[in-house]
Symmetry: C2
């Protein structure tokens, strides 16, 4: 912050005061002016001035005294105020290989509606975007919320995504590599639209409401044929300079080792990574005791454990959260714990992801809310000269 | 910042103003009161009040008008002020396997004296600390600076170092693992003493004055038999939860691959990592065309390139800086660039370290200066309620 300060002038002070007052209002129920004075440490006239501005902007509403003080009639009635979480809305969206999922919440993050549609893995980009648009329309209709009421939209998708929302590499879905997903979706909304890698959003979601609550340095591993990872450092997402941090899926290429698709194959011919049925068949055979399938599954899991260990050595996180379809396999969590305790001085905790199929959309919702809170609750000092 | 603000009260404003005024003074030569008013955006009475406090504390001095305005005699003479960089001093120290190096600078970071002593690799911890103490004394004596004038001391050393300054793992030097280096050195100084991993400090130094100036996401690789790495993310050091981030030296253990000491051996018997002469002999033989030595060197370099690539996949930096004795070998930079361009979507730049043998001590000096600047130039808001 000190980098950007030019001086403690009175307009900075006004913005600090507005942010502080909003923060005091946001978390609670209705609050009296007197309570706000106590909570913020500001003077009564200052709080009155700030509140007046916030009521005008629609972010704060005065609550009828009757609602709060039934039966209390002595003296001047206290004035009660509340944060109007319904003043705006946020969308969290997952554009996945098999599902499109949309979550709608108010400015306080309370979920108002959610909707998911299946999408065929063979859909081209146009068709897939069509499903996204109709799912969004369905959620807004369900909740009776106008599109103009959206303050922020965040979207998660597999692949390496630029800061401006272009998919630089997206092999999981047809037509995805090179797609300017941000620009395409911005046509449907008037508010800012952010695109983010799905594993990155899963890390954020697990930190918000899942297995990583309260942990600052977290690696989320999306365990599957093409493992991806998202990392939080000091509670903040680490995207990497080109948005490709955690792309450990390429590790097996070093030293010309076999791909996961080949490792998990029982026929010598690599599996199609999008062919979930074939993957499921190998796993089922292995469970049933088929020797060839068991060897293939072991090979595949050893590779996964190796890749995650490399990531841990590079980042030294406090916690590794494992999600994705391969997370539930028997041979993942324990071998990973053993490997990590062998090769690190202080092995991180290893936990199964706690959030289910909504994890990516929930992470997107959190990113959208962060964007709103940045506007509302952060003091934005004037640029340095 | 918004997290910690409780309200824009007047004491916060006073601190903002003092920090802003000091920053405006620090970078330039002598400055007039009128210039300070312009540079800070503060009112003249405010700047006068702040300057009075800073002169009292010894951080600012009024400059005699005669020095600045010879010949200019009309009107009321302007008042000139300067930052007193000599009000305090900072030490940057490297405690290495073969050298102890100490750099002394003033509060503006201008180097006043530097001194290095050779240390035998077999010295035990007590003997090594003795060399550190005598080198510090020598530097202070050279510069004529009193020990009480030190505001901050930072120390770099190989190994995994706790935040409190305990060496958790330090195999490069006898008696180093488990040593509470922070506590031991704090006995010699009244000011704060910080201990940090040497590769981390090298990353900081190259970012400050070397090959990584202006780059935020940087990996510094200390290339040697036991490669270590330090990473900056967004211009800040990433230590990892347990201070072990970048400890890619353990990667070769995964999959039971051979150690670098074995890879570089020409006899089948692993080299002693501390035996620099043996390492130098293999490298010289390889240069001279000895086939066995050449094969061994190639093996060793392929391993190094592999480890660095794994780190790059995990972190996705903008720039990789390679330092340490192995950085100068022919087979490092080009093969690394090739490997990275094969396995990443956007390969980071690869550069040779620009700072020489002082790189770790320079990084330590920068950390010490950061600590001082945090105290001087940062607004420290009151804790949240």
């Amino acid at each position: 912050m000190a980098d950007r300060l030019t001086g403690g002038d009175s307009s900075l002070l006004r913005r600090i005061n507005a942010a502080v007052t909003l923060r005091a209002l946001r978390d609670g129920q209705s609050v009296t002016l007197t309570q706000l004075v106590g909570d913020t440490g500001l003077s009564r006239p200052t709080v009155e001035g700030v509140i007046e501005g916030l009521v005008e902007s629609g972010l704060v509403a005065e609550v009828e005294p009757a609602q709060q003080e039934a039966g209390r009639q002595r003296g001047r009635p206290a004035r009660w105020f509340r944060f109007r979480a319904e003043a705006g809305h946020v969308l969290g969206i997952e554009v996945g290989v098999h599902d499109i999922r949309v979550i709608l919440a108010d400015l306080a993050g309370d979920v108002l509606a959610t909707h998911a549609k299946e999408a065929d893995e063979t859909l081209d980009a146009e068709e897939r975007l069509g499903v996204v648009r109709s799912t969004v329309a369905e959620v807004l209709r369900k909740a009776g919320v106008s599109r103009d009421s959206l303050w922020s939209v965040a979207v998660g998708t597999p692949g390496i995504v630029d800061r401006d929302g272009t998919v630089r590499l997206g092999t999981a879905m047809p037509g995805w590599t090179g797609l300017d997903l941000g620009a395409r979706l911005r046509r449907s909304f008037r508010c800012p639209v952010v695109i983010e890698n799905d594993a990155n959003l899963a890390a954020i979601a697990e930190h918000w409401k899942g297995a990583a609550v309260g942990k600052g340095d977290v690696v989320f591993v999306m365990a599957g044929l093409s493992p991806g990872a998202g990392s939080l450092i000091g509670g903040r997402l680490h995207r990497g300079f080109g948005g490709a941090a955690g792309e450990i899926g390429a590790l097996h290429l070093l030293g010309q080792e076999a791909t996961p698709e080949r490792l998990l194959s029982t026929t010598g011919k690599p599996l199609d990574p999008l062919d979930e049925a074939a993957v499921a068949r190998v796993l089922r055979l292995a469970r049933e005791g088929d020797e060839v399938a068991r060897v293939a599954t072991d090979r595949f899991l050893r590779r996964l454990v190796h890749d995650v260990t490399a990531l841990v050595l590079a980042l030294d996180p406090e916690l590794v959260v494992v999600g994705g379809w391969a997370a539930g396999l028997d041979g993942v969590l324990e071998p990973l714990r053993e490997q990590l305790s062998l090769y690190t001085l202080r092995a991180p905790e290893v936990a199964l992801a706690a959030l289910g199929s909504e994890v990516v959309a929930m992470g997107a919702l959190r990113v959208g809310l962060d964007h709103v809170e940045e506007q509302l609750f952060t003091v934005d000092p004037p640029p340095a000269r």
